[in-house]
């Protein structure tokens, strides 16, 4: 925003929110990347690190909410300022959830350690994670630039993640049917894939929030949805 407030402290308060959100974004991104790396390489130490980092995001979200509430009470923000603060609260909540999902993946590393993941599945999962991470990274860049057009692009890409998730889902089902001993690890991997797909959804939420912050209007149109797993069964393979 170009102009500054008559109350300079107000500017500082808004800047604090922006800075903390960016920090949260960086941590969430790292957690997701680490959790997938830990999964693929069965790296228990890395998984532990991810699990412990979750508390940082929980704290950050709490602090952002407190600051936002105090700022609303003190400044009675209007228009773009109000949207900025409400947006911060929502984005912090999404990033906190991303952290939870990363942590959940990390916990599963411990559960499936020793089973070993088939190469092909690992690659599928990595590919899914790459896309979700790219969404997350891009949406954090958009947060910095506040470009509504780019927010829209991110939202449109979510369908791709859903499609890959659906194909991974099919593959995991096949493995489970081939050998019942695969059921436990594959079930965990299924949850991991679902978690990563959800991370993509949170990135999309954030994109929509940024669009609203920038324009004051809600993004129009349905989200692209290509997660068809709700209608898939083992029999369909």
């Amino acid at each position: 925003m170009s102009s500054t407030h008559i109350y300079s402290v107000y500017d500082e308060e808004l800047k604090y929110l922006t800075r903390r959100i960016s920090e949260m974004g960086g941590i969430a991104e790292q957690m997701v990347a680490d959790s997938v790396r830990a999964l693929v390489n069965a790296d228990l130490a890395l998984a532990q690190k991810v699990i412990s980092e979750d508390a940082i995001l929980d704290d950050a979200e709490r602090q952002i909410n407190e600051k936002a509430i105090v700022t609303i009470a003190k400044r009675q923000p209007m228009a773009a300022d109000l949207r900025e603060i409400m947006g911060s609260i929502r984005i912090a909540a999404d990033l906190e959830r991303v952290g939870d999902l990363g942590k959940n993946n990390a916990k599963r590393v411990i559960a499936i350690s020793g089973s070993g993941i088939p190469r092909q599945l690992a690659r599928g999962l990595e590919h899914l994670a790459e896309l979700a991470l790219m969404q997350l990274k891009d949406v954090l860049d958009v947060y910095a630039s506040r470009s509504p057009e780019k927010a829209n692009t991110i939202r449109e890409r979510d369908g791709e993640i859903d499609a890959i998730y659906t194909s991974l889902f099919r593959e995991l089902l096949t493995y489970m049917m081939e050998d019942p001993r695969n059921i436990t690890p594959c079930t965990h991997l299924l949850f991991c894939a679902k978690n990563i797909e959800r991370i993509g959804d949170h990135a999309t939420n954030i994109a929509e929030t940024i669009y609203y912050m920038a324009t004051g209007a809600q993004i129009l149109g349905e989200r692209p949805k290509e997660d068809n797993t709700a209608s898939l069964g083992a029999a369909s393979e």
Partner: protein
């Protein structure tokens, strides 16, 4: 009135807001104080049963515009008004208009509560007496009770109607002035920063009152409190350096205004 019907009334009023006929229209209104021009071709319409808030930085012409709506500017010698202002169908600056009668139809409440140094009762009956709206004591009694009820003051003063109006608290005085305006059955009530001399509780009472009055009157309020405009009005007009720069739904105005000057002003930013 039960909860349901109250909500229904509220909803009906809200729907009416965007379709209600214009009670007053201002076309190309310009105002000069001597050589100095204070308003530049303002086109602003006011809908019936709607609270319209006028906002903008000090000196932007809010009060000047408000005073055009009941020709209060006529009382300022140097002041000249051009353009057209219509109440219902009639041009209020038409030479045939009786200004006293106009001001009964378009009442006004000022920034500083200004009750007459008379009893509460006489404050309320003053207007009706001048306009010949009542003759018997019973009729006057009825107007007094009705007006004080409408102004949300009845319960507080009904046992001391013959005490002086100036002995009331500031908030009560302002509500007495509203009762005084209501007493002559106006159609439009103009308010110029009616709460700026009141504490937050007295302010809340007046705002609640404005909210209720909207069902029966058309209200135009000048306020320098953005929050107040957001709370009490359905339409908001933003003035800047004598120009009307934006008129919009209040909800839109305070979440996503169209004009950069409005944004800067309501967000407290340097333009």
């Amino acid at each position: 009135m039960n909860m349901m019907s109250e909500a229904a009334v509220e909803k009906a009023l809200d729907q009416k807001m965007n379709t209600a006929p214009y009670k007053m229209t201002g076309k190309d209104v310009s105002v000069y104080y001597g050589e100095k021009r204070a308003l530049f071709d303002v086109n602003l319409n006011v809908r019936e049963n709607t609270v319209t808030a006028l906002i903008g930085p000090s000196g932007c012409g809010k009060s000047t515009f408000l005073r055009c709506l009941n020709r209060m500017n006529d009382t300022i010698d140097s002041c000249r008004v051009t353009g057209k202002i219509v109440l219902d169908e009639g041009d209020i600056y038409d030479p045939s208009i009786d200004v006293v009668e106009l001001r009964a139809r378009v009442g006004m409440v000022f920034q500083k509560p200004n009750p007459f140094p008379k009893s509460i009762y006489e404050n309320v009956t003053y207007g009706p007496k001048i306009h010949g709206l009542a003759r018997t004591k019973a009729e006057f009694d009825q107007i007094v009770e009705h007006s004080l009820q409408k102004a949300g003051l009845w319960n507080e003063v009904k046992d001391r109607l013959h005490e002086s109006g100036t002995g009331l608290s500031g908030g009560q005085q302002q509500r007495l002035c509203i009762a005084r305006a209501v007493a002559v059955s106006p159609e439009v009530i103009l308010m110029d920063e009616p709460c700026s001399a009141l504490d937050p509780i007295a302010t809340a009472k007046v705002e609640e009152l404005i909210h209720e009055l909207r069902a029966n009157y058309t209200i135009v309020i000048v306020t320098h409190s953005m929050q107040q405009a957001a709370r009490v009005s359905q339409r908001t007009a933003m003035f800047h350096l004598g120009n009307l720069v934006e008129e919009n739904d209040t909800d839109k105005m305070f979440t996503n205004p169209d004009d950069q000057r409005t944004q800067d002003y309501i967000m407290g930013r340097f333009g």
